[in-house]
């Protein structure tokens, strides 16, 4: 029987007051006339519930910066300014807007709507220097993406043979390896996060609800084994001997890629035939030199970027992934190996962008913590959101909510692109505009039109 993929979301309010983007201030010359209350469609202005004759302090967290109250106030007693605490949120690609957007997604599982105009740059580092082409959006349906025909966000993990061979009796000769199909192109990844046991459990619960894989250090398996089936776990081994601690049902393990990666992979495959083996490698130019080789041996290549979105050489995932993808395509090896990309994924759109740049799937790391209220500070100390003590159920639901919102955004994008299957997006750079291409197209023929850095 066909069962439609569904993620169960529940509105889950954060444990701490969100950091509002705008601070609405009411000055002393307010005459409590109540005009702002009638004007504000977001209910940021209310009369004091205890004494309705006075206006309550404005709730800045509800303000969408529409300025209606400021314009309408007969006393000019209201002002709105950007909150300094908001500007101080996050670091690098983890911008304040992205962090608060993720908080919102994790709270109500809805696609975020940002408005009141955009005054920023149209490009930035990494994934911000590419724009997805959504030309089909000219005729959106009345009932949104959910009313259209089915769009698959599923991806397959494992080796895909480029051709099938049959014998004379039309019996399949090609040996089919294990394929893990996931309903969403992202796995949840604890391997590089330092989090409490409750958070681990919560994230495991979320992975179960989402039906996706949970990547975790081999030492943490016991903590979550009661919550998840073994076949949805992806233990990360630091050495081959760790395999002893891996339960039998596990379908994919990852091993840290050292100089002896080839030997390790072969040893693991020998020990557990049928189990997929992945190699974890930090993105660097060296990776390209071994990539072709790796495609012949390993089933999965897990490319690691830092949370800055950059590899060891400072190259952003956008460029590093494209090079890797193109090299493997050129060598005819691309489908031999699944590429999973991690790090610096700070917004929903970065998942499809990673895939356009050549990854098959991604893992979510820092985003999971932000879903819990993390401020993505440069340094993790004196946590303003007390993330460490987040209860398990809270963690589970917040992560589910955010992932659901991210998937919905992916559906919107795919629908707008006219693509019905996410797997077709892999390496589809024609579905995106890259900043340098746009610059070249616009300015190359113009005298003196060279881009000045």
């Amino acid at each position: 029987m066909y069962e439609r993929y569904h993620i169960g979301t529940v509105v889950t309010v954060g444990r701490h007051r969100p950091v509002p983007k705008f601070i609405v201030r009411r000055e002393g010359n307010c005459i409590n006339c109540g005009k702002c209350e009638r004007m504000c469609v977001y209910q940021a202005h209310r009369r004091d519930p205890v004494d309705p004759r006075k206006m309550a302090e404005p709730d800045s967290t509800l303000c969408k910066n529409c300025f209606r109250c400021v314009v309408e106030c007969p006393q000019r007693a209201l002002s709105i300014r950007v909150n300094d605490d908001f500007k101080a949120l996050g670091n690098g690609v983890w911008t304040p807007v992205r962090i608060t957007t993720m908080w919102g997604e994790a709270e109500n599982a809805k696609i975020p709507v940002l408005g009141a105009g955009y005054r920023g740059l149209f490009s930035g580092p990494g994934f911000d220097a590419m724009w997805t082409d959504m030309s089909e959006i000219v005729r959106p349906t009345r009932d949104g993406i959910h009313g259209r025909e089915f769009i698959s966000t599923g991806v397959d993990i494992g080796r895909k043979p480029s051709l099938l061979r049959f014998d004379d009796d039309m019996r399949l000769l090609t040996e089919m390896g294990t394929i893990i199909d996931l309903p969403v192109p992202f796995m949840l990844d604890l391997s590089r996060l330092v989090v409490s046991e409750n958070i681990m459990k919560g994230i495991a619960g979320a992975a179960k609800e989402l039906g996706t894989l949970l990547v975790l250090p081999v030492g943490s398996i016991e903590k979550v084994s009661a919550l998840m089936a073994d076949d949805m776990l992806v233990p990360v081994l630091s050495k081959v001997d760790d395999l002893e601690r891996v339960p039998k049902g596990v379908r994919l393990v990852e091993i840290e890629g050292g100089p002896d990666w080839k030997r390790d992979v072969n040893e693991l495959k020998r020990s557990r035939p049928g189990m997929l083996v992945g190699v974890r490698m930090t993105s660097s130019p060296d990776l390209l030199t071994v990539a072709n080789d790796m495609a012949r041996e390993a089933d999965v290549l897990h490319v690691l970027f830092a949370e800055t979105g950059m590899g060891a050489d400072g190259q952003y995932a956008r460029d590093a992934s494209r090079k890797l993808h193109r090299q493997l395509v050129a060598a005819g090896l691309r489908d031999q190996m699944t590429i999973v990309s991690s790090g610096g994924l700070a917004a929903a759109e970065m998942v499809p962008k990673s895939i356009i740049c050549g990854a098959d799937a991604v893992t979510l790391e820092g985003a999971l913590k932000v879903a819990l209220g993390c401020h993505a500070c440069v340094e993790c100390k004196d946590c303003p959101a007390d993330v460490e003590n987040a209860p398990e159920e809270f963690v589970r639901q917040r992560v589910i909510n955010m992932c659901s919102a991210w998937r919905d955004q992916m559906l919107e994008m795919l629908g707008a692109m006219g693509i019905r299957d996410l797997r077709r997006l892999r390496g589809e750079t024609g579905r995106a505009i890259f900043q340098e291409d746009a610059h070249r197209d616009a300015f190359s023929g113009i005298e003196g039109g060279e881009k000045v850095e």
Binding site: I31, C33, G34, K35, R53, P74, Q75
Partner: protein, 652 residues
């Protein structure tokens, strides 16, 4: 079947709070169902009509007059006014007209019960005629409201009383001299016509009718002024105030004499004694004005501006800074500010002929010195020979005996000044002793008009011609030329031996009643000038027409509470019907911190009577949606509020 006598016309501009059952005369009038007439039935609300701006010591009031009205009504149309008057005439009841209650002479309080007619809701500006420069207003309009309406057309009023929150009709009846009277002349010169409600209907008065002249200063003896057409003038940007400082009084008066004789008359000319500048400094918490006798002269147009500057340069007088002049000019409208320092102030107001001004001023100074008073003297120079002298001094209203002594001093000062040629400004109740000094011709004219317009004598009876109160007219005896008039005259003559006695008595009482640790609300009610400015800007009042919701009403309720008087639950709950818009704080001339006082009063009332949260919420929601409230917010509840939009018009 008993009809619900409290039903009100349902309008979006009206909020009906909890019903208070009417009884006696109030009920009788209510049952007449006169349209556009609100009958005040609550005892607490009626109590507000037992007094005016002055706080007459209750000992005096209680024994002498029956100042409690039998009923209080608020008409909002001329027709309702006539209907009420006809009813009163038929029943033989007295009608006491009242404007905003901002005069201190008792003209609007009953001396023998009767119906108090609160004309303050006849407050519409009916028609502005830009071409002919005139405006038709209802009698209960406040001068500030008229001026505001005019300013939209580039026009302004010619003169107004020092309290801009007094009503047009009130000033017509009660004096007609004030700010702007030098350039504009007496109010009677600037009124084109008057429509008056009498027991026999509406009549129109205009010059040269004798009755028209008689209306001015008539203190409501003739009828209720329901409409008046005023002359107005264009706003002139050349008009500017000048502040001059002199070492001695005589120098100042001499220059004033020359200024008032300029061919292009200044709009306004005021003399301030050094005391005024001292108090002004104290109130502003800084040394803004120097020491000396001051003149504040305001030009009305370019011609008078040039004339003033010409006079100054020819006499070599240098004027003080413009900001000082503007501060003082603004201060003209807030003479009661001083009460904050007392708390409370007392004073004498007389008309002084210009030739005798020096003598009268010296006399007033000397008398105050003898009585150990630090007076503030203000002389408003008028067209012709008259000038209006105000002599104010601080008193302590929390100290009953001191207050009584100071009140007596005020009477002595007034009588002493009248002795040497001054005239009483207004009679009311308390100045009745000086009725002998009222111009005979005016008196006869008024008598003739009264016989014609109010033959039954129901309008404001017991005053003016003969003061009659309780105890077989004891008040009449006391406050009559023969009674206190003679006594006061005698005392004025004997002030030399008397003054040490009064001085010592004052000192003793000051010691007996300490000024520290007083109740906040009681202190504040005495600082309150009772000028009624808060009533005219209060949106809650606009919706309920009930003065108990205003600052003045609430402070008086605070006093009643402190004195242990009975307050009904309905009355108490009225105090909670407040928009917290702070308009009252902004217009308050005593600059009282009213909002904290409301919080305090409410917490006290809540302990005794609880509060009706549902009514408050309902009130707020009704108010928010009322067009009247929107209009008030648009106009700027708070004076000087910045306009919305960059320099543009206020948007609502």
């Amino acid at each position: 079947m008993e009809a619900d006598i409290n039903d009100q016309t349902v309008s979006s501009d009206h909020f009906t709070p909890k019903v208070e059952m009417a009884s006696g005369l109030s009920k009788e009038i209510t049952l007449l169902r006169i349209p556009d007439l609100r009958v005040i039935s609550g005892e607490g609300e009626k109590r507000l009509y037992t007094r005016d701006q002055a706080d007459v010591p209750s000992v005096v009031k209680d024994t002498l007059i029956q100042y409690r009205p039998d009923a209080v009504v608020q008409p909002s149309t001329a027709e309702a006014t006539v209907a009420l008057l006809q009813y009163a005439r038929g029943r033989g009841l007295a009608v006491i007209p009242r404007g905003s209650g901002s005069s201190p002479f008792g003209g609007s309080i009953p001396v023998n019960g009767g119906i108090v007619l609160d004309a303050g809701n006849l407050n519409k500006v009916l028609d502005v005629d830009v071409k002919n420069k005139c405006v038709k207003v209802q009698g209960g309009c406040r001068w500030a409201d008229v001026d505001h309406e005019l300013s939209k057309h580039g026009l302004r009023i010619i003169s107004c009383p020092s309290s801009r929150f007094s009503t047009v009709a009130g000033w017509i009846c009660g004096g007609g001299l004030g700010v702007g009277s030098l350039g504009g002349g007496h109010l009677s010169k600037n009124i084109i016509s008057i429509k008056m409600a009498t027991g026999s209907g509406l009549i129109e008065l205009m010059p040269p009718q004798e009755e028209f002249k008689a209306v001015f200063g008539s203190e409501g003896q003739l009828g209720i002024i329901v409409e008046a057409t005023l002359k107005v003038k264009s706003i002139d940007s050349a008009s500017k105030p000048h502040f001059l400082l002199f070492k001695d009084l005589d120098g100042a008066v001499d220059v004033a004499e020359r200024l008032r004789r300029l061919s292009a008359l200044p709009e306004d000319l005021i003399y301030f004694s050094p005391g005024k500048l001292r108090y002004a400094n104290k109130l502003l918490h800084g040394e803004h004005f120097g020491e000396g006798h001051a003149l504040l002269v305001t030009s009305s147009d370019q011609a008078s501006e040039d004339a003033i500057l010409g006079l100054l340069s020819s006499t070599g007088i240098t004027e003080e800074k413009e900001y000082q002049a503007r501060l003082l000019m603004h201060d003209r409208y807030f003479p009661m500010k001083l009460r904050r320092l007392g708390p409370g102030m007392m004073g004498a107001e007389v008309l002084a002929p210009m030739p005798k001004l020096k003598d009268i001023l010296h006399r007033a100074e000397d008398l105050c010195q003898e009585f150990d008073l630090d007076p503030l003297l203000e002389v408003h120079v008028m067209q012709g020979q008259e000038s209006l002298l105000l002599c104010y001094y601080l008193t302590d209203q929390c100290n009953d005996s001191l207050y009584l002594l100071d009140a007596a001093k005020s009477m002595i000062v007034t009588s002493a000044l009248i002795e040497i040629g001054a005239k009483p400004y207004s009679l009311g109740v308390w100045n009745n002793s000086f009725v002998d000094h009222w111009p005979k011709e005016e008196m006869r004219r008024l008598r003739r008009a009264k016989d014609k317009l109010d033959p039954s004598g129901m309008m404001n009876p017991g005053k003016y011609f003969a003061l009659k109160g309780r105890m077989f007219g004891a008040a009449g005896m006391l406050f009559s030329p023969r009674g206190s008039g003679m006594a006061l005259g005698l005392m004025a003559k004997l002030h030399m031996p008397l003054s040490p006695v009064l001085r010592t008595a004052s000192k003793v009482t000051r010691k007996l009643v300490p000024s520290e640790g007083r109740d906040m609300l009681e202190e504040m009610v005495n600082q309150c000038a009772m000028c009624g400015a808060c009533v005219s800007v209060c949106p809650a009042y606009a919706l309920t027409k009930d003065e108990r919701v205003t600052a003045r009403g609430k402070l008086l309720m605070g006093r009643d509470l402190a004195e242990g008087r009975d307050i009904t639950k309905e009355s108490a709950h009225r105090a909670f019907l407040c928009m917290r818009c702070k308009a009252c704080e902004q217009v308050c001339q005593s600059k009282l911190d009213l909002i904290p006082a409301y919080d305090e009063l409410e917490s006290r009332l809540e302990k005794l009577f609880g509060k009706d949260a549902a009514e408050i919420e309902h009130f707020i929601r009704i108010a928010e949606l009322s067009p009247k409230y929107d209009e008030m917010v648009a106009r700027g509840l708070v004076l000087g509020a910045p306009k919305n939009g960059m320099g543009g018009d206020r948007r609502v």
